[in-house]
């Protein structure tokens, strides 16, 4: 290659670099929680404190691989991601740093954060049973496990086992009942399916409305979204296991990146996100539940009723996730 070409390429790299740097500023967040859910929060934070937030969204896996590859030179300060499994793996792979901050420990209950304080849940997502109000009486329902019973033959709809929500659900079941019992439950579910597993929760609910099946398992906020569009939706939520361990919950959460260059500002942001002020904004944007016990959910969400949450530490979901996937593969749950 000619020298001049090489010089030109290098010059271009630096020009692009300058452009990229021009955007960089105070706190850098890598987020697997989607832009339209976090941007309003960041805007509010900037308005309140004057601190600029720079963020990059992607799937959790690539974001973590990215932080690992960048190593000591990562620009990231904070990692926000969805699902306890991802948070657990981020902590395990050593990209997060343990944080000792009273306000966080006060705002986030034990079971919704890492035992080593490397990540903190910021919103709660409940995965529960949804049923057709036309064909199912709530009295027929009791627990997730009961959906494996013969009375639900050809009446159950599920989302694909590839979705992390179901992997976490089964992981928590393993934590409670052990592998063998959980496997027979999942096999029971698969045997009861009215249709092949769907690719998302909304499809599960639409199938119930259309009469393809009668019950399903979904995250509550998907129900909320559908209800918003059609207030007369012939579906209702059921809180299972209220006499037992309670409803399976999962979190979206955040942790401090180990090689953050700006730990003070990053921690301030993290603490703020768990505060009463931010919690409603954080949860309500997606009709989720706040983690902070002193914050009430949005009235629309609260209207679905109070329920007992499963208090096993959500990091279990991460620990047992691989086990859960293997189990579902064996049970031919696609």
């Amino acid at each position: 290659m000619k020298k001049s070409t090489l010089v030109m390429i290098l010059a271009l790299v630096f020009v692009f670099q300058a452009l990229a740097v021009a955007y960089a500023s105070e706190v850098v967040v890598y987020s697997a929680r989607k832009e339209h859910l976090i941007k309003p929060l960041f805007d509010a934070y900037t308005k309140e404190t004057g601190v600029e937030i720079n963020y990059l969204t992607d799937k959790a896996g690539p974001l973590m691989e990215k932080i690992r590859a960048e190593g000591k030179n990562t620009p990231a300060d904070l990692l926000i991601t969805v699902d306890a499994g991802n948070l657990w793996y981020a902590a395990k792979s050593g990209v997060l740093e343990s944080v000792d901050l009273n306000v966080l420990q006060k705002n986030v209950p034990d079971y919704l954060r890492d035992p080593g304080n490397r990540w903190f849940g910021l919103s709660v997502r409940a995965r529960t049973i949804v049923y057709s109000t036309e064909r199912v009486k709530p009295s027929e329902l009791s627990s997730y496990e009961a959906l494996a019973g013969p009375e639900w033959k050809g009446r159950l709809c599920l989302r694909t086992s590839k979705k992390v929500y179901n992997q976490s659900l089964v992981a928590m079941m393993i934590a409670e009942h052990g592998v063998e019992k959980s496997e027979s439950i999942v096999k029971g579910w698969v045997g009861n399916l009215a249709a092949k597993p769907f690719s998302n929760d909304t499809k599960v609910m639409q199938a119930i409305v259309a009469g393809q099946c009668d019950v399903g398992i979904v995250n509550t906020y998907y129900y909320g979204r559908l209800l918003k569009k059609d207030p007369k939706l012939p579906l209702s939520l059921y809180w299972p296991d209220q006499q037992g361990n309670g409803v399976h919950v999962n979190v979206s959460g955040a942790g401090l990146v180990k090689y953050s260059k700006n730990k003070d500002e990053a921690l301030k942001l993290l603490a703020w996100l768990s505060s009463e002020k931010a919690q409603n904004l954080f949860a309500d944007s997606n009709m989720e539940y706040p983690v902070n016990p002193s914050v009430k959910p949005h009235p629309n969400v609260a209207a679905w009723g109070d329920f007992k949450k499963n208090l096993i530490n959500v990091s279990k979901a991460g620990e047992l996730q691989a086990e859960a996937i293997k189990l579902m593969d064996r049970a031919k749950y696609k």
């Binding site: 390429i9 271009l12 790299v13 692009f16 670099q17 990229a20 955007y23 850098v28 989607k34 832009e35 339209h36 859910l37 720079n54 963020y55 990059l56 969204t57 992607d58 799937k59 959790a60 896996g61 690539p62 691989e65 990215k66 590859a69 960048e70 190593g71 000591k72 030179n73 990562t74 620009p75 793996y89 395990k92 792979s93 694909t160 590839k162 992997q167 249709a195 092949k196 597993p197 769907f198 690719s199 998302n200 929760d201 909304t202 499809k203 639409q206 409305v209 259309a210 009469g211 393809q212 998907y222 979204r225 997606n286 996730q321 691989a322 996937i325 293997k326 593969d329 064996r330 696609k334």
Partner: protein, 544 residues
């Protein structure tokens, strides 16, 4: 170029460039494959025991089905619009390319939304005949996913086959007729085999796309190698297991490419006869002409009109909520990346193809095969493969700078547009190269020799002699790459600089939260941005 290299007889600028390009592509693939060397133990065992056979069967079905489907639709529509005449031919000849601008995952979602149990079609049927009497085939099936992928990918075959038929020359068909072969027989025994390199190039793109596709198959919950790779990585948190699966995928693609090249080694395809088909189209009559119309129209209807109408309906519903002036930024970013990427990919594909022509030996074959492998890897896996070495290089340079000059910085190459575009090159080289290389076969030896006698060599030969002949092919390649880049998600997500969100990024954000209706706005903008060049492309083809 480098004087040291000139010493070796078979080495010159072209060879060296080809070496460099294939090296660029090889690095991320090697990075991915090397990571498979780390032990994964029980995960791999589990995969082999419980899912591998299903993956193989599913993947083979998908690839075979989509290849057959795109071949059938692409070639027959290309023949109809390139050689025959029937009502609406001119309109169809360009509009049949429009599905090129629709991302596969968008069509998949729309298709399921319309035709599955909860969709309007089946609901309507149940309303008319009662739930017990409606036996609609399960659309969320192998057949369904093959249909959707076929409808999205057939334009690749259509485009290249049409190009071949238009420039094939009438002579060969006349020769066949003079030897007692009817039009039908002439088509199967002469026109079709002669168009084979182009058709094969198109089908190869289709095969690679369907192997790498994640969006559409996951909407159908259809397990393929790609979905398994994602599961290994995001579910088992095992990049090594994902790499092991990817290596099987790379191997499959490599075998397919080698097989395809073996199949037509020894054959050379230059056009027979000087007359283009333009003058004497075959005028279809009676039933045939309306059949041709009906076939073309139904493909266009299902693959483009219906999904666009559905997207428009959704867009109207969400417009107020979703639209903001940031969309102009998304659009600009998408366009800029698409254009820059198309230019880089096509230039390098040209260099690669030219180098192969200059050195028609085994090494060239190996280099070009390597350089086109990036197309078949699932995007996310490739993205990591690109990112890891770039970040490594960055870290080395940053450390050196810190120690030597006391300079503090966090990134040099990573997160720069330059690297993003290189990553696109690695991913889409096949899309550019296959098209350009097919066109290159049309430049005969004697053209080279004539130009050489007039004192043209190297770059000058390329720009003065070959480029004008290759113009059509290069333009086609540029459009394909442009549209592909605009639709691309995982690499853009991972490699984009801060603030460089594109339409595809926006679609990803919304769809991964299940907000399909809201994703309609960026989708429709993306499709519209892709349509214009597609129309340009066919106008071009019509003239030449």
């Amino acid at each position: 170029m480098l004087p040291a290299i000139n010493v070796m007889k078979y080495m010159d600028g072209w060879r060296a460039s080809a070496l460099l390009i294939s090296l660029l592509v090889a690095v991320p693939i090697v990075v991915v494959l090397v990571s498979m060397l780390s032990v994964t133990g029980d995960i791999w065992e589990h995969l082999v025991e419980n899912v591998l056979s299903e993956l193989l069967v599913n993947t083979v079905w998908l690839v075979a089905g989509v290849a057959a489907g795109t071949y059938l639709i692409g070639v027959s529509l290309a023949w109809l619009t390139a050689v025959c005449d029937f009502p609406g031919r001119k309109f169809f000849s360009w509009s049949l390319l429009l599905p090129l601008s629709i991302p596969a995952y968008v069509l998949a979602f729309v298709f399921l939304g319309i035709f599955d149990f909860t969709g309007p079609v089946q609901t309507l049927l149940r309303g008319w005949f009662g739930a017990e009497n409606v036996h609609f085939p399960d659309v969320s099936s192998t057949g369904g996913v093959i249909t959707v992928m076929t409808l999205v990918l057939y334009p690749y075959v259509y485009l290249l086959a049409r190009n071949a038929f238009m420039t094939q020359g009438r002579r060969a068909l006349e020769a066949a007729a003079s030897l007692g072969h009817s039009r039908v027989s002439g088509f199967f025994r002469v026109a079709l085999p002669m168009a084979r390199p182009w058709i094969a190039g198109g089908v190869l793109l289709v095969v690679m796309e369907s192997l790498a596709d994640f969006g559409a198959v996951s909407i159908f919950n259809y397990n393929t190698f790609t979905t398994a790779i994602y599961k290994a990585w995001f579910g088992f948190f095992s990049l090594p297991a994902a790499a092991q699966l990817s290596s099987i995928l790379v191997l499959i693609v490599f075998i397919i490419i080698v097989m395809e090249q073996r199949m037509r080694s020894g054959m050379k395809f230059t056009r027979a006869g000087r007359e283009a088909a333009g003058g004497g189209r075959i005028r279809l009559k009676g039933v045939w002409k309306w059949t041709a119309f009906a076939v073309s129209f139904s493909v266009l209807l299902v693959a483009f009109i219906i999904p666009v109408i559905q997207l428009l309906i959704w867009t109207v519903e969400v417009f107020e909520e979703e639209f903001s002036f940031r969309y102009f930024g998304f659009l600009t970013h998408s366009l800029l990346l698409g254009i820059a990427g198309a230019i880089i990919v096509c230039s390098l594909a040209l260099v690669l193809s030219y180098s192969k022509r200059h050195h028609p030996d085994k090494l060239s074959g190996f280099l070009t095969r390597t350089a086109t492998l990036g197309y078949a890897l699932p995007g996310t896996v490739l993205a990591v493969g690109v990112f890891i070495p770039v970040a490594y290089l960055d870290n080395v340079i940053i450390d050196v700078m810190r120690n030597m000059a006391g300079l503090e910085m966090t990134s040099l190459f990573k997160g720069s547009l330059f690297v993003l575009i290189i990553a696109y090159m690695i991913r889409f080289m096949a899309a550019g190269f296959n098209t350009i290389n097919s066109a290159m076969q049309r430049v005969t030896r004697s053209i080279d020799e004539a130009a050489r006698l007039m004192g043209m060599r190297g770059i000058k030969m390329l720009s003065k002699v070959h480029l004008p002949i290759l113009k059509g092919g290069v333009f086609t390649a540029a459009i394909i790459v442009f549209v592909d880049i605009m639709k691309e998600m995982p690499i853009t997500l991972m490699m984009r600089p801060f603030g460089w969100d594109t339409l595809a990024v926006k679609i990803f954000e919304l769809t991964s939260e299940g907000e399909w209706a809201r994703a309609a706005l960026p989708s429709i903008v993306l499709i519209m941005a892709g349509i214009l060049p597609v129309i340009l492309l066919t106008r071009k083809g019509e003239r030449s």
